[in-house]
Amino acid sequence: MLLPADRRRWFEAGCRTAAVLVLAGMLYRALIPSEDSARAESRNAAISELTRVSVNDLPSRIHFDLDGIPSPTQRAWQRALRGAGSKISWSGNLEPIAISIRPVAAPSAQSIVTATSFGPSAALLRDDISTIDSASGGRPLISASLPIASGRVRVVSGNDSAYATASDSAALKSILVIGKANWETKFVLAALEEAGWKTEAAISVAPSIAVTQGSIATIDTAHYSAVVALDESADSRAASIRTFVRSGGGLILGDAAARTTAFTALRVSEPGSPPRASTGDTVTRALSAFAPLRVGSDAIAVEQNKGMVSVAAKRVEFGRVIQIGYADTWKWRLQGPARGIDEHRDWWSHLLAQVAHASRSGVADGAGDPAPYSDLVNVAGLPSAQPQLSKPLSRSSSELLWMLGLFTLLLVEWASRRLRGAR
């Protein structure tokens, strides 16, 4: 049986041994890579947490509990941590948000902004000056035309936002309208002029005589963005129009032009039955004479009328062609409803915008954060269930505990020796 003095010496030896073991453990932790994990909570806490784990030892895994999409800076930090070897994961009830700006080849709008927000909060589309549009929660898409192609546009939903900056604008050239002297040619030309397109025209009035508007130049993309060939009077220019389209120009082919052999290579649809007029209470384009189009595998239907394709499009090398089956769209303008004149103008302008060639000219650096949620997924993957990780303590705080334990052991051992009179 041990005497109390012996027990005390055994206790002191135990303290010394424990202190040595603690020191050995700390030495081991210093020399061997850590298997520790860290967890950051909330978007606001993440930056301080990221700073600390980045300047101290790097954890092998970092999990983020997010209540909002991290900022671009935070995501850049996450990306850097992942590059340094940490496995990044996250959890949280976040909804995608994104925005895009693309220049449009149309005189009325230089950019189309499209924003998506799937969150329950209302989404606001804003530029540097004011709110452009809004959508109630759950409506995923906002689209708006902007007359100015520069500046930052942002979509905001709840705490999250995405923004984009126009990176280029479309430089339009003239539109060449070719047709015979009739009401369709006249009012197509009028509609395009009213919509702001710069037009030139060659209107055939007699064999080898044409009324021209503007100085008709060589048909190429340096002079024209698109050609509107309404009928067979464009036959004599078919070869140059073919070259124009193949090099990127746009073409709208009227039904009468598409029926000629000169445009066989460019037409979207084989000629079908001749246009027939429909009847109805209100004259719209849908009720003017219309020939159904047969769309091949290389084309798409742009518009349908009573289940039949009335407008179709296809790509021809670098250019685009739209063929329309309507023969007398002018009646929509003259005999249609009160808004018929506006609808006729907008319809033609919209068609033209889909084919018009426009050279791009840069006006801004294109900077932005257009899809922050997608970027987060690219960095940290899809959201995962919260893993069973260590408490959100930092490595340095656990080391403090180790140091405190070591100090306590040495103090107890020293006090025990001094109290029994040993040195």
């Binding site: 002297a181 009739n182 009401w183 005589i209 009468a256 004479a289 009646k331 003259l334 004149i341």
Partner: protein, 203 residues
């Protein structure tokens, strides 16, 4: 694509049909000189009917007082607002006459005040070339009506485009004959009519 159809507008107040062979004569000239697809027969459409909007060029003439009813005025305004054009000719060739006075008043009320059309206007070059402006008619030269040779036509314009063309030159008498009789003329006097139609179809 629909062809051009010559349309005479029928209005309630006067003798709208005072030049019955003029449409056929102009249709003959359009077919003779141009490749414009033209309907072989003209139509007569009441100005008060919405059917008038199917004819973007409407010819009006007469000798008697000229006044639109409310329905006629509304359709006439609508036609012009949507890009159509009126050609109105004073069959009296008399600026002191009743047609001229009432027509100018009605044109001013419905479309705005007409002004003199410059003789270098595109109308005079739209197909045939008339460097001196509107061609004189035999009725002017023979001293009928007001005994004047009118130097200019009148017009109400919308932007650069003529929406109402008004004449005191009495083309309704000048062109009112059977087209077969053109063979007796050294120069076809309906050529300016072709200019009006080509202008309406191309501007």
């Amino acid at each position: 694509m629909s062809e051009f159809t010559f349309c005479t507008g029928r209005y309630d107040s006067g003798d709208w049909d005072s030049a019955p062979t003029l449409p056929a004569n102009l249709i003959d000239s359009v077919a003779r000189y141009t490749n414009i697809a033209v309907a072989p027969s003209a139509v007569i459409v009441p100005l008060s009917s919405p059917r008038i909007l199917a004819y973007p060029l409407v010819y009006l003439t007469g000798h008697l007082p000229f006044r639109f009813s409310e329905a006629e005025r509304e359709n006439a305004r609508k036609l012009v607002d949507r890009g159509g054009m009126f050609f109105i000719d004073d069959h009296n060739h008399d600026i002191g006459g009743v047609f001229h006075k009432t027509a100018i008043e009605e044109i001013t009320r419905t479309f705005g005040k007409p002004s003199e059309l410059k003789n270098d206007h595109a109308l005079y070059r739209s197909f045939f070339n008339f460097p001196d402006g509107p061609p004189a008619t035999s009725h002017e030269l023979n001293g009928w009506g007001d005994n004047l040779v009118h130097k200019n036509l009148l017009a109400v314009t919308k932007g650069q485009r003529i929406s109402v063309l008004y004449s005191n030159k009495d083309y309704s008498s000048e062109w009112n004959y059977h087209p077969d009789n053109k063979r007796f003329s050294s120069v076809d006097n309906t050529r300016f009519g072709v200019n009006i139609i080509v202008y309406a179809l191309t501007r």
